[in-house]
């Protein structure tokens, strides 16, 4: 939906959208938090909102909130507006809107008179909470990792998020770079750390049919990653992910770039379903996608 006027009205907002479950959005955005202060870049488009966070050029997280997750989504801009804001501030601000027992419908509007992001609670006739967050012009363009598959066939596996998180937590003990090795024979994924102690965590494909939900690997692939970056990919997975037994997909692309994808449910159980603009009821996938990209350490062990 876009404005029909050819000369765009300067006062018309570029985006007005409504979410019905703030808590879900907070969960999704929190997954990308690994530090107290993180500068995020928010990009608005007709397809939805993307929030990107980066660190030291080696780690990037992207949270995709597609338009279907919103109760309403009116986008009326040319191009894709991008602005910078503090991720922690955004999450904390959204949190204040989600009080238990109250309707947590929030309207997000951009831009405000001074290019702020405006948030307003709706759905309660008695009171209104209102917030505005200052935005800034982002200094840098987020790195586009151009994730490509190395070779002809992709090298990836999928595992329950809870198991991956537990394994990465255990790998804190060696306290060194972590080597991720995937091998076709016997088919398995091995995470290894050796510091003041050695630890190796193996996910053998044949050990248990439930362990590796998916596994694709036709040649041995091995790269090393800094532990703190690897840890950032799972440290703040919301508990709903564990409860719903969701899986995480891990891929190793060209050059050893690691891509970790989580699925975070944005809907609260018992919430009413979204009705699309056509008026028909549908069961949407109330899932937000979180993607992490991690660059490998310099000493790459080639397959």
């Amino acid at each position: 939906m876009s404005s029909s006027t050819s000369g765009r009205d300067d006062d018309a907002p570029e985006l007005v959208c409504q979410i019905d479950c703030v808590h879900g959005m907070v969960d999704a955005l929190s997954s990308a938090r690994w530090k107290r202060h993180q500068d995020a870049v928010m990009e608005l488009s007709a397809h939805g909102i993307v929030v990107t966070v980066e660190e030291s050029g080696c780690l990037q997280a992207k949270v995709f909130l597609k338009r279907e997750l919103f109760l309403e989504y009116e986008f009326a801009a040319e191009g894709r507006p991008r602005f910078g804001l503090s991720l922690g501030l955004l999450v904390d601000c959204l949190n204040t809107f989600s009080a238990p027992g109250h309707s947590s419908e929030v309207e997000i509007r951009y831009p405000g008179p001074d290019m702020q992001l405006l948030l307003k609670s709706v759905g309660s006739p008695d009171a209104c909470m209102y917030a505005e967050i200052r935005t800034r012009i982002p200094d840098t363009v987020p790195w586009d990792y151009h994730f490509e598959h190395a070779g002809n066939t992709p090298v990836n596996f999928a595992i329950k998020s809870a198991i991956l998180k537990e394994s990465i937590d255990d790998l804190e003990w060696p306290g060194s770079t972590i080597q991720i090795l995937m091998q076709p024979d016997p088919p398995s994924v091995i995470l290894k750390g050796d510091g003041h102690g050695d630890l190796q965590v193996e996910f053998p494909y044949y050990a248990n049919t439930d362990l590796l939900i998916a596994f694709q690997c036709d040649r041995e692939v091995s790269y090393r990653y800094k532990y703190k970056f690897l840890r950032a990919t799972t440290s703040n997975i919301p508990s709903s992910v564990m409860k719903e037994n969701r899986g995480t997909k891990v891929q190793i692309g060209r050059g050893g770039i690691l891509k970790v994808q989580h699925l975070v449910s944005v809907a609260r159980p018992g919430m009413q379903y979204y009705r699309n603009a056509a008026g028909g009821a549908q069961q949407p996938s109330r899932i937000a996608y979180i993607e992490f990209f991690v660059k490998p350490e310099e000493d790459v062990n080639d397959a």
Binding site: E166, D170, W173, G197, L199, E202, L211
Partner: protein, 443 residues
């Protein structure tokens, strides 16, 4: 050495490691043909903990044939020493999530000990822990039969008794008397309670924790499952931290605690008491050996002071302090006064801990008034109390101090006492805020 365990044994193993980790920082593993032993010693060498796991404890237990150990004579058990912190890191995965745990040491000189955890969800975690080059842990073995006295207590009962003491308590004194010795009933409530637990405060430490003293008289027939002590009263003072670790261990394993003791200066020995009806023996065992203070809390205060230190486990010297000439009645020795400031009608401090002690308090006051040699057997403590009613009575354990104490003669702090004259250093206590005596109890 290769071994593997699962199920209940795995849970017990985790508990053993947790207990050992609360005592010392390094564990020495010794693999004998019939059992595996884990030993640890705490940093001040005052506590030694050991766990013994029989061959049957494990699902698999393989040792190299003695012929292969070329460098070591066959009688030397396979041995290695690792940090307990590292073993705890291995056991971070809860035993409930594990199918089995395998431990292996490829050869006696191997630099690393290997732990493989097979999780129920299919994940396999392999840890390699570096072995320490030299182990400081020795093996200590004490024959239980050399201890003349012992008691058996349920862990939850002991927990309940210890809960009467401040949680920051460092050392505890157990005063054991012969329950068969006829006690003249001195004060009603105290008589018949043959065992006393008393907090021990290091006089050299001047922090808030030393201002609370607690005494607990208990009837062993009610609190303990077994209690054997004959002859003179004895007391043993030892550290509480390791005791609590052992207590937690026994409680989790659902076994009673068997405590063997002799007298001050001799170590106390704690072992689990398995209640096995069918005469079989348990497939694991544990030992905690605690050193005790050399100087007895029961010693007459007239005795010349000797510098005293906690006994080292390896030595068994006898303190030079002379025991009191007369076998005292327990009631005398156990009626020391708390060093809390309180209203003294004549400078005596008051207990605030248990009603029983309050009874004793009243009793001494009555004695002072009577100024008689007393209903109780005499001890040199009483005359002092009577002669100097307005000065703080010296506690009967006044001379028991550690080497570092500046004042070798008195254990208590002058600042704790509010004297009739104005020489108190205790500037915390205002005259008006002195604690009023509680009304007569149970009269």
């Amino acid at each position: 050495m290769e071994l593997s365990m699962s199920g209940g044994a795995l849970r017990t193993f985790a508990r053993c490691v947790t207990c050992l980790a609360r005592v010392g920082s390094e564990v020495a593993l010794q693999a004998h043909p019939a059992k595996l032993e884990l030993h640890t010693l705490n940093s001040s060498r005052s506590a030694y903990a050991s766990v013994s796991l029989a061959r049957d404890f494990f699902d698999q237990y393989h040792l190299p044939a003695s012929g292969h150990a070329a460098s070591a004579p066959p009688s030397t058990p396979l041995q290695c020493s690792v940090l307990l912190k590292s073993v705890l890191a291995v056991l971070r995965t809860p035993p409930a999530a594990l199918d089995r745990l395998a431990v292996s040491l490829p050869d006696p000189d191997a630099p690393k000990l290997q732990f493989i955890l097979h999780c129920l969800n299919g994940v396999r975690k392999t840890y390699w822990i570096a072995c320490s080059a030299e182990s400081e842990v020795q093996t200590l073995a004490l024959d239980r039969s050399r201890f003349p006295s012992h008691l058996v207590v349920r862990p939850r009962d002991l927990t309940r008794l210890l809960s009467n003491f401040q949680s920051s308590l460092q050392e505890l004194t157990i005063i054991a008397t012969d329950p068969a010795a006829g006690l003249p009933d001195a004060g009603g409530d105290v008589g018949g309670k043959a065992v006393e637990l008393r907090s021990y405060n290091d006089p050299a430490k001047d922090d808030c924790d030393t201002r609370l003293h607690t005494q607990l008289w208990i009837d062993p027939a009610e609190e303990f499952m077994e209690y054997v002590h004959t002859g003179d009263p004895v007391d043993v003072t030892f550290g509480v931290k390791e005791l609590k670790a052992f207590l937690t261990f026994c409680e989790a394993c659902e076994v009673d605690i068997h405590l063997f003791f002799e007298k001050a200066g001799e170590p106390v020995l704690l072992v689990p008491r398995f209640a096995l009806d069918d005469g079989s023996s348990s497939d694991f065992d544990a030992t905690l050996l605690l050193s005790t203070m050399l100087v007895s809390q029961l010693i007459d205060s007239n005795v010349a002071q000797q510098p005293a230190t906690s006994a080292q486990l390896a030595e068994e010297p006898r303190t030079g302090a002379t025991p009191s000439p007369v076998p005292e009645n327990v009631s005398n020795h156990t009626k020391i006064w708390s060093e809390l400031s309180g209203i003294p009608s004549c400078g005596t401090g008051h207990h605030c801990s248990t009603p029983k002690s309050f009874e004793a308090n009243r009793e001494i006051q009555a004695q002072e008034r009577n100024a008689s040699a007393s209903v109780l057997n005499h001890t040199s403590m009483l005359p002092r109390v009577i002669n100097a009613p307005c000065k703080p009575p010296v506690a009967d354990n006044a001379n028991n101090t550690k080497v570092i104490s500046a004042n070798p003669r008195s254990q208590h702090h002058p600042s704790n006492w509010v004297g009739a004259d104005d020489n108190d250093d205790d500037n915390e206590v205002d005259e008006e805020l002195l604690v009023q005596t509680t009304p007569h109890y149970m009269d």
